[in-house]
Protein backbone atom coordinates (compact mmCIF):
# COMPACT_ATOMS: atom_id res chain seq x y z
CA UNK A 1 0.00 0.00 0.00
CA UNK A 2 1.50 3.26 -1.12
CA UNK A 3 1.99 5.76 1.66
CA UNK A 4 0.64 9.21 1.19
CA UNK A 5 3.15 11.98 0.60
CA UNK A 6 2.42 14.70 3.11
CA UNK A 7 2.24 18.18 1.54
CA UNK A 8 4.97 19.57 3.80
CA UNK A 9 7.16 16.48 3.42
CA UNK A 10 6.77 15.25 7.02
CA UNK A 11 7.02 11.57 7.93
CA UNK A 12 3.70 10.05 8.95
CA UNK A 13 4.46 10.23 12.68
CA UNK A 14 6.37 13.50 12.49
CA UNK A 15 4.95 16.48 14.35
CA UNK A 16 5.22 20.08 13.29
CA UNK A 17 7.63 22.19 15.35
CA UNK A 18 6.01 22.46 18.75
CA UNK A 19 6.82 24.34 21.90
CA UNK A 20 5.32 25.31 25.24
CA UNK A 21 5.78 28.27 27.55
CA UNK A 22 4.25 29.01 30.95
CA UNK A 23 3.72 32.18 32.97
CA UNK A 24 2.74 34.38 30.05
CA UNK A 25 -0.21 36.17 31.69
CA UNK A 26 0.80 37.81 34.97
CA UNK A 27 -2.78 38.38 36.20
CA UNK A 28 -3.70 34.70 35.99
CA UNK A 29 -3.08 32.08 38.68
CA UNK A 30 -1.62 29.91 35.94
CA UNK A 31 -1.02 30.48 32.25
CA UNK A 32 0.57 28.82 29.25
CA UNK A 33 1.06 28.99 25.53
CA UNK A 34 1.30 25.99 23.23
CA UNK A 35 2.38 26.19 19.61
CA UNK A 36 2.20 23.51 16.98
CA UNK A 37 3.39 24.80 13.63
CA UNK A 38 1.22 27.82 12.88
CA UNK A 39 -1.39 26.97 15.50
CA UNK A 40 -1.04 29.00 18.70
CA UNK A 41 -3.17 28.57 21.84
CA UNK A 42 -2.92 30.60 25.03
CA UNK A 43 -4.57 29.51 28.26
CA UNK A 44 -5.20 31.19 31.60
CA UNK A 45 -6.40 29.62 34.85
CA UNK A 46 -8.26 31.58 37.52
CA UNK A 47 -9.14 29.78 40.72
CA UNK A 48 -10.12 27.81 42.64
CA UNK A 49 -12.52 30.64 43.52
CA UNK A 50 -16.06 30.78 44.82
CA UNK A 51 -18.52 29.59 42.18
CA UNK A 52 -21.04 32.11 40.95
CA UNK A 53 -23.90 31.67 40.28
CA UNK A 54 -24.43 29.88 43.56
CA UNK A 55 -26.78 27.22 42.19
CA UNK A 56 -23.90 25.84 40.14
CA UNK A 57 -21.83 25.17 43.27
CA UNK A 58 -21.07 21.58 44.07
CA UNK A 59 -20.80 21.00 47.83
CA UNK A 60 -18.84 17.81 47.24
CA UNK A 61 -16.09 18.96 44.90
CA UNK A 62 -14.61 21.77 42.88
CA UNK A 63 -15.88 22.40 39.38
CA UNK A 64 -13.75 22.80 36.27
CA UNK A 65 -15.12 25.30 33.77
CA UNK A 66 -13.40 25.67 30.40
CA UNK A 67 -14.01 28.18 27.67
CA UNK A 68 -12.45 27.90 24.25
CA UNK A 69 -12.66 30.65 21.69
CA UNK A 70 -10.88 31.64 18.52
CA UNK A 71 -9.68 35.16 17.85
CA UNK A 72 -11.54 36.82 15.02
CA UNK A 73 -8.27 37.19 13.12
CA UNK A 74 -6.94 33.68 13.70
CA UNK A 75 -8.29 32.44 10.36
CA UNK A 76 -8.64 33.71 6.77
CA UNK A 77 -12.32 34.68 6.93
CA UNK A 78 -12.87 36.77 10.03
CA UNK A 79 -15.03 35.04 12.62
CA UNK A 80 -17.45 36.91 14.80
CA UNK A 81 -16.06 37.21 18.30
CA UNK A 82 -19.15 35.82 20.08
CA UNK A 83 -19.09 32.13 21.07
CA UNK A 84 -20.33 29.83 18.30
CA UNK A 85 -21.94 26.39 18.55
CA UNK A 86 -18.57 24.95 17.57
CA UNK A 87 -16.64 26.81 20.26
CA UNK A 88 -19.19 25.85 22.91
CA UNK A 89 -18.83 22.18 22.04
CA UNK A 90 -15.06 22.38 22.10
CA UNK A 91 -15.20 24.11 25.49
CA UNK A 92 -17.08 21.07 26.78
CA UNK A 93 -14.60 18.68 25.12
CA UNK A 94 -11.65 20.48 26.74
CA UNK A 95 -13.37 20.22 30.12
CA UNK A 96 -13.95 16.48 29.70
CA UNK A 97 -10.38 15.96 28.51
CA UNK A 98 -8.87 17.56 31.61
CA UNK A 99 -11.27 16.71 34.42
CA UNK A 100 -10.05 13.12 34.92
CA UNK A 101 -6.57 14.22 36.04
CA UNK A 102 -7.68 16.92 38.48
CA UNK A 103 -7.83 16.25 42.21
CA UNK A 104 -10.33 18.92 43.14
CA UNK A 105 -12.54 17.05 45.60
CA UNK A 106 -10.99 19.15 48.33
CA UNK A 107 -12.32 22.40 46.89
CA UNK A 108 -16.09 22.21 47.40
CA UNK A 109 -18.26 25.08 46.15
CA UNK A 110 -15.42 26.48 44.04
CA UNK A 111 -14.79 26.82 40.36
CA UNK A 112 -11.55 26.65 38.41
CA UNK A 113 -11.88 28.71 35.27
CA UNK A 114 -9.73 27.82 32.30
CA UNK A 115 -9.90 30.25 29.39
CA UNK A 116 -8.27 29.29 26.13
CA UNK A 117 -7.85 31.63 23.20
CA UNK A 118 -6.62 30.63 19.77
CA UNK A 119 -4.45 33.39 18.38
CA UNK A 120 -3.50 31.76 15.11
CA UNK A 121 -5.12 28.68 13.60
CA UNK A 122 -3.70 26.08 11.27
CA UNK A 123 -5.75 23.04 12.32
CA UNK A 124 -5.49 21.11 15.57
CA UNK A 125 -6.68 24.04 17.67
CA UNK A 126 -8.60 21.94 20.21
CA UNK A 127 -5.51 19.79 20.79
CA UNK A 128 -3.30 22.85 21.21
CA UNK A 129 -5.96 24.23 23.57
CA UNK A 130 -5.89 21.08 25.71
CA UNK A 131 -2.08 21.05 25.80
CA UNK A 132 -1.95 24.70 26.85
CA UNK A 133 -4.75 24.27 29.40
CA UNK A 134 -3.09 21.24 30.94
CA UNK A 135 0.14 23.20 31.41
CA UNK A 136 -1.69 26.25 32.77
CA UNK A 137 -3.48 24.10 35.38
CA UNK A 138 -0.17 22.62 36.51
CA UNK A 139 1.35 26.10 36.55
CA UNK A 140 -1.52 27.30 38.77
CA UNK A 141 -0.63 24.56 41.23
CA UNK A 142 -3.95 22.74 40.93
CA UNK A 143 -3.46 19.22 42.33
CA UNK A 144 -3.23 16.82 39.40
CA UNK A 145 -2.41 13.15 39.22
CA UNK A 146 -1.22 13.32 35.64
CA UNK A 147 -0.80 15.62 32.68
CA UNK A 148 -2.93 15.52 29.56
CA UNK A 149 -1.27 15.65 26.17
CA UNK A 150 -3.26 15.96 23.00
CA UNK A 151 -2.60 15.33 19.34
CA UNK A 152 -4.54 15.89 16.12
CA UNK A 153 -4.14 12.43 14.69
CA UNK A 154 -5.66 11.59 11.35
CA UNK A 155 -5.69 9.58 8.20
CA UNK A 156 -4.91 10.87 4.71
CA UNK A 157 -6.28 8.57 2.05
CA UNK A 158 -5.11 5.25 3.54
CA UNK A 159 -2.22 6.41 5.71
CA UNK A 160 -2.41 7.17 9.42
CA UNK A 161 -0.56 10.41 10.19
CA UNK A 162 0.05 12.66 13.18
CA UNK A 163 -0.60 16.38 13.68
CA UNK A 164 -2.71 17.33 10.66
CA UNK A 165 -2.32 20.86 9.40
CA UNK A 166 -5.00 22.85 7.57
CA UNK A 167 -3.78 21.82 4.15
CA UNK A 168 -4.04 18.18 5.15
CA UNK A 169 -7.49 18.66 6.65
CA UNK A 170 -8.59 19.78 3.21
CA UNK A 171 -6.86 16.81 1.51
CA UNK A 172 -8.94 15.55 -1.41
CA UNK A 173 -7.21 12.47 -2.82
CA UNK A 174 -8.38 8.87 -2.38
CA UNK A 175 -10.39 8.37 0.78
CA UNK A 176 -9.77 11.99 1.75
CA UNK A 177 -8.97 13.09 5.29
CA UNK A 178 -10.10 11.64 8.60
CA UNK A 179 -9.62 13.77 11.73
CA UNK A 180 -8.95 11.96 14.97
CA UNK A 181 -8.16 14.43 17.74
CA UNK A 182 -7.15 12.45 20.80
CA UNK A 183 -5.96 13.30 24.31
CA UNK A 184 -4.06 10.98 26.61
CA UNK A 185 -2.67 10.84 30.10
CA UNK A 186 0.84 9.55 30.66
CA UNK A 187 -0.72 6.34 31.94
CA UNK A 188 -2.21 5.92 28.50
CA UNK A 189 -5.80 6.64 29.45
CA UNK A 190 -7.83 8.28 26.74
CA UNK A 191 -9.61 11.35 28.07
CA UNK A 192 -10.78 12.69 24.74
CA UNK A 193 -11.41 11.09 21.38
CA UNK A 194 -13.28 12.40 18.39
CA UNK A 195 -13.41 11.29 14.80
CA UNK A 196 -14.69 12.64 11.51
CA UNK A 197 -14.26 10.66 8.35
CA UNK A 198 -13.88 7.01 7.50
CA UNK A 199 -11.54 4.47 9.06
CA UNK A 200 -11.27 0.73 9.83
CA UNK A 201 -11.05 -0.66 13.36
CA UNK A 202 -7.45 -1.73 12.75
CA UNK A 203 -6.34 1.63 11.51
CA UNK A 204 -8.03 3.44 14.36
CA UNK A 205 -6.08 1.27 16.77
CA UNK A 206 -2.93 2.07 14.85
CA UNK A 207 -3.72 5.79 15.16
CA UNK A 208 -4.22 5.47 18.92
CA UNK A 209 -0.92 3.61 19.35
CA UNK A 210 0.95 6.17 17.28
CA UNK A 211 -0.71 8.98 19.26
CA UNK A 212 0.48 7.41 22.51
CA UNK A 213 4.01 7.52 21.21
CA UNK A 214 4.01 11.13 20.04
CA UNK A 215 2.14 12.33 23.13
CA UNK A 216 5.17 11.23 25.14
CA UNK A 217 7.19 13.87 23.28
CA UNK A 218 4.50 16.48 23.82
CA UNK A 219 4.46 15.62 27.51
CA UNK A 220 8.24 16.08 27.67
CA UNK A 221 7.88 19.56 26.21
CA UNK A 222 5.06 20.45 28.62
CA UNK A 223 7.20 19.31 31.52
CA UNK A 224 10.27 21.13 30.22
CA UNK A 225 8.34 24.41 30.00
CA UNK A 226 7.05 24.01 33.56
CA UNK A 227 10.47 23.10 34.91
CA UNK A 228 12.15 25.98 33.13
CA UNK A 229 9.65 28.36 34.64
CA UNK A 230 10.41 27.10 38.14
CA UNK A 231 14.13 27.44 37.50
CA UNK A 232 13.67 30.95 36.19
CA UNK A 233 11.74 31.92 39.32
CA UNK A 234 14.47 30.66 41.64
Amino acid sequence: MAEVKRPDGRKKDELRDFSGEVGIIPNADGSAKYKSGDTIAVAAVYGPKKMHPQHQQDPEKGVLRCTYNMNSFSVDDRIRPAPSRRSKEISQIVEWALEPVLLIDDFPNTVIDVHVNIIQADAGTRCAAINAASMALAHAGIPMKDMVSSIAAGKLDKTVVMDLNKEEEDFEEGEGPTDIPISLTQKGEITHLQLDGKISKEQLKEAIEMSKKVCKDIYKEQRRALKDFVKQEE
Partner: protein, 270 residues
Protein backbone atom coordinates in the same frame (compact mmCIF):
# COMPACT_ATOMS: atom_id res chain seq x y z
CA UNK B 1 -9.77 33.80 45.14
CA UNK B 2 -12.21 36.45 44.03
CA UNK B 3 -10.62 39.46 42.50
CA UNK B 4 -11.75 42.56 44.28
CA UNK B 5 -11.20 46.18 43.59
CA UNK B 6 -8.12 47.83 44.99
CA UNK B 7 -8.49 47.90 48.80
CA UNK B 8 -9.26 51.20 50.46
CA UNK B 9 -5.97 51.25 52.32
CA UNK B 10 -4.03 51.01 49.04
CA UNK B 11 -6.27 53.64 47.50
CA UNK B 12 -5.52 56.04 50.35
CA UNK B 13 -1.81 55.38 49.97
CA UNK B 14 -1.91 56.03 46.22
CA UNK B 15 -3.60 59.38 46.90
CA UNK B 16 -1.07 60.28 49.62
CA UNK B 17 1.78 59.55 47.23
CA UNK B 18 0.21 61.64 44.49
CA UNK B 19 -0.16 64.61 46.85
CA UNK B 20 3.63 64.61 46.89
CA UNK B 21 3.84 64.06 43.15
CA UNK B 22 4.87 60.41 43.53
CA UNK B 23 3.72 57.02 42.29
CA UNK B 24 4.40 53.52 43.65
CA UNK B 25 6.60 52.59 40.72
CA UNK B 26 8.53 55.88 40.89
CA UNK B 27 7.21 57.16 37.59
CA UNK B 28 6.45 60.81 37.00
CA UNK B 29 2.76 61.64 36.78
CA UNK B 30 2.98 62.09 33.02
CA UNK B 31 5.31 59.14 32.39
CA UNK B 32 4.25 56.00 30.52
CA UNK B 33 5.43 52.53 31.45
CA UNK B 34 7.76 50.82 29.02
CA UNK B 35 6.03 50.43 25.66
CA UNK B 36 6.96 47.54 23.39
CA UNK B 37 5.34 46.32 20.22
CA UNK B 38 5.73 43.02 18.45
CA UNK B 39 4.38 42.69 14.94
CA UNK B 40 2.95 39.70 13.13
CA UNK B 41 1.08 38.08 16.02
CA UNK B 42 -1.22 36.19 13.66
CA UNK B 43 -0.23 35.27 10.12
CA UNK B 44 -3.90 34.98 9.29
CA UNK B 45 -4.52 38.67 9.91
CA UNK B 46 -3.81 41.27 7.24
CA UNK B 47 -1.95 43.14 9.96
CA UNK B 48 -1.44 42.32 13.62
CA UNK B 49 0.47 43.51 16.63
CA UNK B 50 1.01 42.82 20.30
CA UNK B 51 1.30 45.91 22.50
CA UNK B 52 2.75 45.87 25.97
CA UNK B 53 2.53 48.78 28.37
CA UNK B 54 4.33 47.49 31.42
CA UNK B 55 2.35 44.40 32.35
CA UNK B 56 -0.70 45.40 30.33
CA UNK B 57 -0.92 43.47 27.08
CA UNK B 58 -3.31 43.61 24.14
CA UNK B 59 -3.26 42.06 20.70
CA UNK B 60 -4.88 43.72 17.73
CA UNK B 61 -5.56 42.24 14.32
CA UNK B 62 -6.90 43.72 11.10
CA UNK B 63 -9.00 41.55 8.81
CA UNK B 64 -10.38 42.69 5.46
CA UNK B 65 -13.31 41.48 3.43
CA UNK B 66 -15.19 42.67 0.38
CA UNK B 67 -18.77 43.65 1.04
CA UNK B 68 -21.50 46.12 0.35
CA UNK B 69 -21.12 49.77 1.34
CA UNK B 70 -23.58 51.49 3.64
CA UNK B 71 -26.38 53.17 1.65
CA UNK B 72 -25.31 56.64 2.81
CA UNK B 73 -21.67 56.18 1.82
CA UNK B 74 -21.66 54.18 -1.38
CA UNK B 75 -18.23 55.40 -2.44
CA UNK B 76 -16.47 54.59 0.84
CA UNK B 77 -15.10 51.52 2.53
CA UNK B 78 -16.30 50.37 5.94
CA UNK B 79 -14.45 50.35 9.23
CA UNK B 80 -15.45 48.29 12.24
CA UNK B 81 -13.53 48.41 15.49
CA UNK B 82 -14.45 45.99 18.27
CA UNK B 83 -12.85 45.16 21.58
CA UNK B 84 -13.09 41.91 23.50
CA UNK B 85 -12.11 42.11 27.13
CA UNK B 86 -11.22 38.48 27.66
CA UNK B 87 -11.81 36.75 31.00
CA UNK B 88 -8.37 35.30 30.27
CA UNK B 89 -6.82 38.71 30.88
CA UNK B 90 -8.15 39.39 34.36
CA UNK B 91 -9.96 37.62 37.18
CA UNK B 92 -12.46 40.47 37.23
CA UNK B 93 -13.81 40.00 33.77
CA UNK B 94 -16.77 37.69 33.67
CA UNK B 95 -17.94 35.45 30.89
CA UNK B 96 -20.82 36.58 28.77
CA UNK B 97 -21.78 39.00 26.07
CA UNK B 98 -19.70 42.18 25.78
CA UNK B 99 -20.34 44.57 28.65
CA UNK B 100 -20.32 48.32 28.55
CA UNK B 101 -16.58 48.73 29.12
CA UNK B 102 -15.59 46.66 26.11
CA UNK B 103 -18.28 48.30 23.99
CA UNK B 104 -17.11 51.76 25.01
CA UNK B 105 -13.46 50.83 24.45
CA UNK B 106 -14.15 49.70 20.89
CA UNK B 107 -16.17 52.78 20.11
CA UNK B 108 -13.64 55.24 21.53
CA UNK B 109 -10.83 53.67 19.51
CA UNK B 110 -13.07 53.54 16.43
CA UNK B 111 -13.72 57.29 16.61
CA UNK B 112 -10.08 58.05 17.27
CA UNK B 113 -9.15 56.43 13.97
CA UNK B 114 -12.21 57.34 11.91
CA UNK B 115 -12.30 61.04 12.77
CA UNK B 116 -8.57 61.60 12.29
CA UNK B 117 -8.79 61.01 8.56
CA UNK B 118 -5.95 58.48 8.82
CA UNK B 119 -7.75 56.14 6.42
CA UNK B 120 -8.69 57.39 2.98
CA UNK B 121 -12.03 55.59 2.94
CA UNK B 122 -12.85 56.54 -0.65
CA UNK B 123 -9.85 54.60 -1.88
CA UNK B 124 -11.33 51.49 -0.25
CA UNK B 125 -14.21 51.58 -2.71
CA UNK B 126 -13.98 48.90 -5.41
CA UNK B 127 -17.23 49.63 -7.29
CA UNK B 128 -19.47 52.46 -6.25
CA UNK B 129 -22.64 51.44 -4.38
CA UNK B 130 -21.75 47.78 -4.87
CA UNK B 131 -18.41 46.64 -3.57
CA UNK B 132 -16.09 48.10 -1.01
CA UNK B 133 -13.43 46.86 1.38
CA UNK B 134 -14.55 46.38 4.97
CA UNK B 135 -11.83 46.69 7.58
CA UNK B 136 -12.27 44.88 10.87
CA UNK B 137 -10.00 46.01 13.64
CA UNK B 138 -10.35 43.59 16.55
CA UNK B 139 -8.79 44.26 19.92
CA UNK B 140 -8.23 41.51 22.50
CA UNK B 141 -6.98 42.04 26.04
CA UNK B 142 -4.41 39.47 27.16
CA UNK B 143 -3.37 40.94 30.51
CA UNK B 144 -5.17 43.88 32.09
CA UNK B 145 -2.89 45.90 34.33
CA UNK B 146 -4.55 49.23 33.64
CA UNK B 147 -4.88 51.66 30.73
CA UNK B 148 -6.21 49.20 28.18
CA UNK B 149 -7.55 52.25 26.34
CA UNK B 150 -4.19 53.62 25.29
CA UNK B 151 -2.71 50.18 24.63
CA UNK B 152 -5.70 49.40 22.39
CA UNK B 153 -5.36 52.72 20.58
CA UNK B 154 -1.68 52.14 19.94
CA UNK B 155 -2.44 48.60 18.78
CA UNK B 156 -5.19 49.64 16.38
CA UNK B 157 -3.03 52.36 14.88
CA UNK B 158 0.05 50.17 14.39
CA UNK B 159 -1.93 47.18 13.10
CA UNK B 160 -3.49 49.41 10.43
CA UNK B 161 -0.10 50.81 9.58
CA UNK B 162 1.24 47.31 9.03
CA UNK B 163 -1.79 45.88 7.26
CA UNK B 164 -1.68 44.93 3.60
CA UNK B 165 -4.74 44.64 1.37
CA UNK B 166 -4.91 41.10 -0.01
CA UNK B 167 -5.37 40.36 -3.69
CA UNK B 168 -8.97 40.35 -4.85
CA UNK B 169 -10.25 38.34 -7.77
CA UNK B 170 -13.10 40.52 -9.03
CA UNK B 171 -14.44 38.01 -11.53
CA UNK B 172 -14.71 35.20 -9.00
CA UNK B 173 -15.57 37.63 -6.20
CA UNK B 174 -12.92 36.03 -4.02
CA UNK B 175 -10.39 37.52 -1.65
CA UNK B 176 -7.06 35.73 -1.94
CA UNK B 177 -6.01 35.71 1.69
CA UNK B 178 -2.32 35.22 2.29
CA UNK B 179 -1.45 37.09 -0.90
CA UNK B 180 -0.78 40.69 0.11
CA UNK B 181 -1.27 43.14 -2.72
CA UNK B 182 -0.84 46.70 -1.46
CA UNK B 183 -0.68 48.97 1.57
CA UNK B 184 -3.81 50.51 3.00
CA UNK B 185 -4.55 54.04 1.74
CA UNK B 186 -3.23 55.88 4.80
CA UNK B 187 -2.64 59.58 5.26
CA UNK B 188 -0.03 61.23 7.46
CA UNK B 189 -2.65 62.03 10.12
CA UNK B 190 -1.38 59.42 12.54
CA UNK B 191 -4.02 58.89 15.23
CA UNK B 192 -2.88 58.13 18.76
CA UNK B 193 -5.16 58.27 21.78
CA UNK B 194 -3.90 59.33 25.19
CA UNK B 195 -6.00 59.06 28.30
CA UNK B 196 -5.48 61.35 31.24
CA UNK B 197 -6.84 60.12 34.55
CA UNK B 198 -7.92 62.30 37.42
CA UNK B 199 -7.12 61.18 40.94
CA UNK B 200 -8.19 63.88 43.40
CA UNK B 201 -6.26 66.95 42.23
CA UNK B 202 -3.68 65.12 40.17
CA UNK B 203 -3.65 64.22 36.51
CA UNK B 204 -1.79 61.03 35.63
CA UNK B 205 -1.20 59.02 32.48
CA UNK B 206 -0.91 55.28 31.91
CA UNK B 207 -2.23 54.13 35.29
CA UNK B 208 -1.64 50.64 36.62
CA UNK B 209 -4.76 48.64 37.53
CA UNK B 210 -4.62 49.92 41.10
CA UNK B 211 -4.29 53.53 40.02
CA UNK B 212 -7.06 53.20 37.45
CA UNK B 213 -9.35 51.87 40.19
CA UNK B 214 -8.68 54.94 42.27
CA UNK B 215 -9.20 57.40 39.40
CA UNK B 216 -12.45 59.33 39.63
CA UNK B 217 -12.58 60.40 36.01
CA UNK B 218 -10.68 60.16 32.76
CA UNK B 219 -10.45 61.93 29.46
CA UNK B 220 -9.34 60.19 26.29
CA UNK B 221 -7.98 62.51 23.65
CA UNK B 222 -7.50 61.26 20.13
CA UNK B 223 -5.27 63.43 18.03
CA UNK B 224 -3.03 63.40 15.03
CA UNK B 225 -0.15 65.70 15.73
CA UNK B 226 -1.52 69.14 16.67
CA UNK B 227 -5.08 68.51 15.74
CA UNK B 228 -7.63 66.94 18.06
CA UNK B 229 -10.10 64.60 16.43
CA UNK B 230 -11.93 62.81 19.23
CA UNK B 231 -12.57 63.12 22.94
CA UNK B 232 -14.32 60.97 25.46
CA UNK B 233 -14.71 62.02 29.04
CA UNK B 234 -15.42 59.08 31.31
CA UNK B 235 -16.26 58.68 34.98
CA UNK B 236 -18.66 60.58 37.17
CA UNK B 237 -16.39 63.31 38.58
CA UNK B 238 -16.20 66.58 36.68
CA UNK B 239 -13.05 68.21 35.34
CA UNK B 240 -12.35 71.91 35.77
CA UNK B 241 -11.62 73.97 32.66
CA UNK B 242 -8.05 74.29 33.85
CA UNK B 243 -7.71 70.54 34.19
CA UNK B 244 -9.00 70.02 30.67
CA UNK B 245 -6.51 72.54 29.39
CA UNK B 246 -3.68 70.76 31.23
CA UNK B 247 -4.88 67.41 29.93
CA UNK B 248 -4.78 68.73 26.36
CA UNK B 249 -1.18 69.85 26.87
CA UNK B 250 -0.21 66.46 28.28
CA UNK B 251 -1.91 64.68 25.38
CA UNK B 252 -0.03 66.80 22.87
CA UNK B 253 3.33 66.00 24.45
CA UNK B 254 2.50 62.32 24.72
CA UNK B 255 1.44 62.15 21.09
CA UNK B 256 4.89 63.35 19.99
CA UNK B 257 6.66 61.00 22.37
CA UNK B 258 4.58 57.94 21.46
CA UNK B 259 4.70 58.64 17.76
CA UNK B 260 8.51 58.80 17.78
CA UNK B 261 8.77 55.69 19.92
CA UNK B 262 6.40 53.70 17.69
CA UNK B 263 8.03 54.93 14.52
CA UNK B 264 11.41 53.74 15.77
CA UNK B 265 10.10 50.35 16.85
CA UNK B 266 8.21 49.84 13.60
CA UNK B 267 11.30 50.59 11.53
CA UNK B 268 13.29 48.10 13.55
CA UNK B 269 10.74 45.33 13.04
CA UNK B 270 10.36 45.82 9.31
Amino acid sequence: MDEEKTPKITAERIKKYLENGKRFDERKLDEFRELTIETGVSKKAEGSVKVKLGKTEVIVGVKMAVGEPYPDSGDKGNLMVTAELLPLSSGRIELGPPKIDSIELGRVIDRGIRESGFLDMEKLCIKENEKVWTLFVDIYSINDDGNLLDAAGIGAYTALKLAKIPKYDEKEDKVLYGEPDKDLPLTDKNPIVTTIYKIENSLVVDPTREEEDVAEARITIGSSDKSISSIQKGGSEPFTTEEISNALDIAENKWTELFKNLDKQLKKQK
